[in-house]
């Protein structure tokens, strides 16, 4: 008998994910089970034992239900966003051709890919479920209750993952009809995570718990939470905490909540499958080409500012190619949004050191997003420049100027967002902050460009991309900490700025040397 198509595809996905190591491929399922048991019986209890008293107060309090419901809801949304982000970012044209040519239905492809990826995300869900189960052993729940908790959380998170997969599939079908749609998809892939981050930051900052304690907002929050199945799961957890050893504790909603979670899971898979059968298509749809418009004010200004010569044509070309990809604009939007969320929920902007550290991190991320593109379109694009006289030098200069034109104004914007949260900041301090951060933005851009030339990333998914990005973000943070701790404010200024520039320029020089060696 032939295997179901979705199973064949799932197996292939698993093979792709474990292609780096045959040993891992064979042992992964056993490793996962071992990891789950380790979390449930050893690591989890040990971890929660450290915060035993605080934890017991929380899960036996009035706010336990809402608190756990919020945590589960955040995790549910997180699992929902993962496939949306991944699907929108990816373009798998060649892979799709294989499925299009084979006698396989689109919904089988989707289910197969989902099941294949479940190995990775299922592990994550299992670890989370294990942690919860371990946390509740402190109140003396029995093995059956532990099993129910693990299954409940697994079902909720896997449902979230499936719903996200279905949404992603439908979005992909709708958006891939035009080149612009594909761009929008890629742009959305990052921005879509911002609301979730907002929710998580609100949770971590304690703002959400404050809203639950405040009688004027508590009702509203609880009503909203009750709409989500994660709250039914929270009901089960909290009821078990209060009645250890009872499968269906009296005067609780467990008897309704358990079938509720199971029904929700079945319904989400059933409805999701129907939606996919109707709305998901693998076929490449009509591809309409966009026409370009005349250069706007910004491009004309850049042309003027770069001398209106042949070099300015190169800067503008790089600008156009970058700016016409909406994913790039969304990356900038993501950084600005992230700074805003952090300013609202996490940092205390009245502490200048915290503000500077945060901004240096964010500028590093931004610079890597902008100039990290230098090699991302592959060696063939580099060879266009190498073929031209002095082409590589001009590429680096054009990229640097394009980077500064984006990173410096955005830095000004995010510094102003942060400073807006400081009441009564003197104007002179505002200018000092801006001047300092803008010149740091220039130095960080130089470094980022250099590091991406020293260790080129020829696609967005390479390890080099992540390493360079982390390097850009952490180097200036480490320098900052060294300066702040050891040198005091004057010594810090004398040390931090020149050293940052010296390192950045040296790395750019090394990058330029390496660029000419790439074959």
């Amino acid at each position: 008998m032939n295997l179901p198509k979705w199973f064949v595809i799932a197996k292939n996905e698993y093979r792709l994910m474990t292609s780096g190591s045959l040993l891992l491929r064979r042992t992964l399922p056993y490793l996962l089970v071992a990891l789950l048991l380790l979390f449930v019986f050893i690591l989890g209890p040990a971890l929660f034992d450290l915060i035993k008293s605080d934890w017991l107060v929380l899960i036996l309090s009035q706010a336990a239900l809402s608190s756990i419901a919020i945590i589960l809801l955040t995790l549910f949304f997180y699992f929902m966003v993962i496939p949306i982000t991944n699907t929108l970012k990816e373009e798998q044209a060649s892979e799709l051709e294989i499925f299009l040519a084979a006698p396989v239905k689109p919904e089988e492809v989707l289910l197969g890919k989902f099941m294949g990826k479940l190995v990775v995300f299922g592990t994550l869900a299992a670890i989370i479920a294990g942690l919860f189960a371990a946390a509740f052993t402190l109140v003396g729940i029995d093995i059956v209750q532990m099993l129910v908790i693990v299954i409940t959380i697994l079902l909720l998170l896997v449902s979230g993952l499936w719903i996200g997969t279905v949404i992603a599939a439908v979005l992909r079908t709708k958006l891939s009809r035009t080149a612009k749609g594909k761009d929008i998809g890629k742009g959305l892939s990052l921005i879509i995570a911002l609301p979730l981050l907002g929710l998580m930051y609100a949770l971590f900052s304690g703002m959400m718990f404050s809203a639950l304690e405040d009688p004027s907002t508590a009702n509203l929050v609880e009503t909203i939470l009750a709409l989500f199945p994660t709250t039914w799961g929270a009901d089960i957890l909290v009821s078990y905490a209060n009645f250890p050893g009872l499968m269906f504790p009296p005067e609780t909603l467990v008897a309704v909540a358990i079938p509720g979670v199971i029904l929700f899971t079945i319904a989400s898979f059933f409805i999701g499958n129907r939606v996919v059968a109707r709305a998901y298509s693998l076929e490449p749809t009509s591809f309409t080409s966009s026409s370009v418009k005349k250069d706007g004010f910004l491009l004309k200004f850049i042309e003027w500012a770069t001398g209106s010569g042949q070099f300015s044509v190169m800067v503008i070309t790089i600008f156009k190619d970058w700016g016409r990809r909406l994913e790039n604009l969304s990356k900038v939007g993501y950084v600005v949004g992230l700074v805003f969320l952090l300013a609202v929920f996490i940092t205390r902007p009245e502490e200048p050191t915290a503000v500077i550290i945060l901004l240096i991190f964010m500028i590093g991320l931004l610079a890597a997003f902008v100039v990290g593109e230098v090699t991302i379109r592959g060696k063939e694009m580099l060879f266009i420049y190498r073929k031209a006289p002095r082409g590589e030098n001009r590429l680096v200069w054009a990229r640097l100027i394009q980077g500064w034109f984006i990173v410096v104004p955005v830095t000004t914007l995010i510094v102003l967002i942060m400073l807006a949260f400081i009441p009564g900041l003197p104007l002179i301090d505002l200018f000092a902050y801006l001047l300092f951060m803008d010149q740091m933005a220039m130095a960080i851009t130089v470094f980022s460009l250099g590091v991406f030339l020293v260790m080129p990333a020829f696609s967005e998914k390479t390890g080099e991309m992540v390493l360079n990005m982390m390097g850009t973000m952490f180097l200036f943070f480490i320098l900052f900490v060294i300066g702040e701790v050891f040198l005091g404010s004057i010594g810090f200024v004398l040390f931090y700025i020149p050293v940052s520039w010296a390192i950045s320029l040296s790395v750019l020089y090394l990058g330029l040397k390496n660029l000419s060696r790439i074959e």
Binding site: A179, V292, M381
Partner: protein
């Protein structure tokens, strides 16, 4: 006698540990001004590596070459100015229009601004792209992109044009157009054209002389007639297989016998 426009001397390019992989091995080649020269060879023979070295994109491991009278090691910028290249897997800014891309390539090769816009218009007209010159390249068919790329290789009016597999990805109509264009470049515009390909009919039709390269070494050179005479064959395909070593028909069909055994 025409002037030499390309001359290589023991040109080598090795890769890997201890230079195990000899992509190009002691290549001695001469190409004359005004001719259409074809470098023919199987996949992985070293054609693209040779073209990349002659265009100063990669450096040779040893040996050297002059292109349009300039040394490829000591006078890279001069070589680059005098040559145009259509790469086998060319880079293309897909988010630019054809006009914008040609404008960019012109700037890259220092074409004066007052000359550039007229030249772009002429090239767009020549390639029949005027109507779609403001559309983004991402919406172009493969053949149309190839036209834009050939136009880009001509934007600085080079003396010598390298075309690496110019028709391999094109449909018959687009391939026909490209072949006509190459004939015009060599005939009417008096350019020297250096083509690399493994498509025999294209090489036979276009080239005045052909060099056959295999495993990095030049193993035959001459006009098509000279190559046929030297191998005692009637067709270029037979000569090519004779020189490079072909696969016996029996070997080709061996899998069918195996299949028969297993069923």
């Amino acid at each position: 006698m025409s002037q030499l426009i390309v001359k290589t001397r023991e040109l080598c390019k090795y890769y890997g540990k201890k230079s195990m992989i000899k992509a190009v091995d002691s290549l001695n080649l001469e190409v004359y001004e005004g001719e259409t020269f074809g470098l023919l060879g199987p996949n992985g023979a070293g054609k693209t590596t040779t073209i990349r070295m002659l265009n100063c994109i990669i450096s040779p491991t040893s040996g050297t070459a002059t292109v349009v009278g300039h040394d490829i090691i000591s006078a890279k910028n001069e070589v680059k100015r005098e040559t145009g290249l259509l790469a086998e897997t060319p880079g293309l800014y897909e988010k630019l229009s054809a006009y914008e891309f040609l404008e960019f390539m012109g700037a890259l090769y220092d074409v004066p601004k007052n000359v550039l816009s007229n030249r772009i218009e002429e090239l767009l007209k020549l390639f029949g792209l005027t109507q779609r010159s403001n559309q983004l390249l991402e919406g172009y068919s493969r053949g149309m992109k190839q036209k834009v790329l050939i136009a880009a290789s001509l934007i600085h009016d080079p003396k010598l044009i390298f075309l690496d597999e110019p028709t391999s990805s094109l449909d018959p109509r687009a391939a026909h157009m490209v072949k006509d264009l190459i004939k015009d470049l060599a005939g009417e515009a008096g350019k020297t054209v250096f083509i690399s390909s493994h498509i025999l009919p294209v090489m036979e039709e276009l080239c005045d002389r052909i060099g056959i390269i295999n495993q990095g070494r030049l193993i035959a050179i001459g006009s098509v007639d000279e190559i046929l005479t030297s191998t005692g064959t009637n067709r270029l395909e037979d000569a090519f297989i004779e020189i490079t070593g072909g696969v016996e028909e029996k070997e080709l069909l061996a899998w069918r016998e195996l299949r028969g055994e297993s069923t």
